[in-house]
């Protein structure tokens, strides 16, 4: 269980103090899939980065299973079981997909075992395992590899920052299946997704609406979602940002 107590985060913008997150109290219960939605600029991604330790809160405390991790580094949080998928996956010259999955797993996985994580995100493993994680991969491919690294960590809490951003429609549909499967196998862990896609909100146990850095609404999906449909917090169609890529399932 992850608990945020009165978390605030300010930045200095052009000499002016700007509050990005304001006094957020939040609990991600065990074995729940929680989706944080809300308008752009509402502080969603910042909240995710505060949980991973990429940003440090101006005030407030963060607890993982009762342990105060507010001052823990990114590395320490990763070792305590928090996983994080970036909105824009990072590219590496020279590092191969297999290297990245091995680092994520924390052990020298056999290529066959590493391939299972790629298959789980709908990539034909043998086509990708030796590829460099560089700009030769499309946005959708990088995104799925990013998610495979989070799967390989076997995290207690997996955080996904806008997994739908920058991918094509085909990849998005595949992504929904990945999250549905993660939801089915959630035993012993929990999932936090930052998203305003209706199809992702549809598989949530709980929905949180973050607006102007504050929690505007919070509760079970059945209670929250109906009022969000048709607003910017529950978008129906995926943005098609690139040409559909070829199917990864025809190996």
């Amino acid at each position: 269980m992850l608990e945020l107590k009165n978390i605030s985060f300010d930045v200095d913008a052009d000499g002016q103090n700007k509050e990005i997150v304001r006094g957020v109290d939040l609990v991600i219960p065990d074995e729940k899939l929680v989706v944080v939605t809300g308008p752009n600029g509402g502080g969603k991604s910042t909240l995710a980065r505060l949980i991973m330790g990429i940003e440090k809160p101006t005030s407030g405390r963060i607890y993982l299973n009762g342990e105060d991790i507010t001052d823990a580094s990114i590395t320490e949080r990763a070792k305590k079981g928090i996983g994080f998928a970036f909105q824009t996956p990072v590219r590496f010259k020279g590092l191969q997909v297999l290297d990245l999955i091995r680092i994520a797993a924390g052990k020298r996985l056999s290529p066959a075992s590493a391939c299972e994580y790629l298959a789980a995100v709908g990539l034909c493993a043998k086509d990708y395992i030796d590829r460099e994680v560089n700009s030769s991969l499309s946005g959708g491919e990088l995104k799925r590899i990013e998610i495979a690294t989070v799967l390989a960590r076997g995290s207690v809490l997996s955080v996904f920052d806008e997994p739908e951003a920058g991918i094509d429609l085909w990849s998005f549909q595949n992504l929904i299946h990945v999250f549905e499967r993660m939801r089915e196998e959630i035993s012993g862990s929990s999932i936090l997704i930052i998203s305003h896609q209706e199809r992702i909100l549809n598989i949530a146990d709980e929905v949180i609406v973050l607006k102007d850095g504050r929690i505007a609404e919070q509760g079970d999906r059945e209670k929250i979602l109906p009022d969000l449909i048709g607003t910017a917090s529950a978008v129906r169609d995926c943005r098609v940002l690139e040409m559909p890529e070829r199917s990864g399932q025809t190996c």
């Binding site: 990114i74 590395t75 996956p89 590092l95 680092i103 994520a104 924390g106």
Partner: protein
């Protein structure tokens, strides 16, 4: 005093670093240690002989020789030794061979140790050569470890050569010059990987003359400059026919390292297509953060990024 002809542990370790050899290799070889050949073997197709004036080796590979290898590693463990060696490789038509060279210096003394290897390759029509050259230095003496290799490649019609040049550790000073002349249809691929640290200095210059129609060159250097080290990459392609050339310098700079990349393209034919790319920058912060979210410390993340980059 010269070491005995049997290899000691330091010599064996150097040999492992530069040529991946535990013991004497298969195929043709010449192992040079502290200025003297301590082992040599020719095969039916590959002949290794000392030059008459004793300045180096002539390596002759018969036309049509397939899937054979030549190893000519050099190790220096004697502080203060300075040598210049001329090795000439004559690769017969349609041969297909792997040539592994390289030099390892272990200097525990106070005097500089230096090996300047001048390698010339005469690659016959249709021949294919893969050439691997690794440089490595070790030893905690104050004497410098200096390597100044000169490589000249003369490629006949439709021959191809792939050169892998690696210098990752321990060489204090390097001034490398590589020249190539390509006839019609010849293809040259160079992959250079370089890391400098401490006060090291490395200069790598290329001049590739694309003289024949259909010739091509692809020269790519990936390098990392750490601490107070300095690197200069100077690659010049000269296109004098309907040819294609690409050169790329991709560098990571760390600490107080300095890198100078000098692009050079010269087109003497309207049908020459030449491209140069150069990029120098520090490790991207988001790369380190990503690997930290996978459980690595900052230092471990840097190491993984550099290892991948230089792979």
């Amino acid at each position: 005093m010269l070491k005995p002809k049997k290899m000691d542990e330091i010599q064996k370790r150097l040999l492992m670093e530069i040529a991946g050899l535990h013991e004497v290799p298969e195929g043709a070889y010449n192992i040079r240690s502290n200025g003297k050949a301590i082992g040599r073997s020719s095969t039916a197709n590959i002949d290794i002989e000392s030059k008459d004036d004793g300045t180096g080796l002539d390596i002759r590979i018969k036309p049509g020789t397939k899937k054979e290898s030549v190893h000519i590693p050099v190790v220096l463990t004697q502080s203060g030794l300075s040598e210049v060696v001329y090795n000439d490789f004559y690769v017969g038509e349609d041969a297909d061979v792997v040539i592994v060279a390289g030099c390892g210096i272990d200097n525990c003394g106070t005097a500089n140790s230096q090996h300047d290897g001048i390698h010339r390759f005469f690659v016959g029509k249709g021949a294919r050569v893969k050439y691997v050259e690794k440089h490595y230095g070790s030893g905690d003496g104050t004497g410098k470890r200096i390597l100044n290799p000169v490589t000249e490649v003369y490629m006949e019609e439709n021959s191809s050569m792939e050169m892998e040049m690696v210098q990752i550790k321990g060489v204090d000073d390097t001034d490398r010059m590589t020249k190539a002349e390509l006839a019609a249809g010849a293809a040259l691929v160079v992959r250079e990987r370089l890391m400098t640290h401490g006060e090291q200095r490395a200069i790598s210059a290329y001049v590739v003359d694309l003289n024949g129609d259909g010739s091509s060159a692809d020269v790519v250097s990936r390098s990392v400059a750490r601490d107070d080290s300095y690197q200069k990459f100077d690659a010049k392609l000269v296109g004098s026919a309907a040819c294609s050339g690409h050169t790329e310098c991709d560098s990571i700079i760390m600490d107080n390292g300095r890198i100078l990349a000098v692009p050079g393209l010269e087109a003497n034919s309207v049908d020459a297509a030449l491209v140069h790319e150069a990029a120098i920058g520090k490790i991207a912060g988001d790369q380190i953060i990503k690997l930290m979210t996978l459980g690595l410390s900052e230092a471990e993340a840097e190491e993984q990024i550099i290892n991948g980059f230089l792979k």
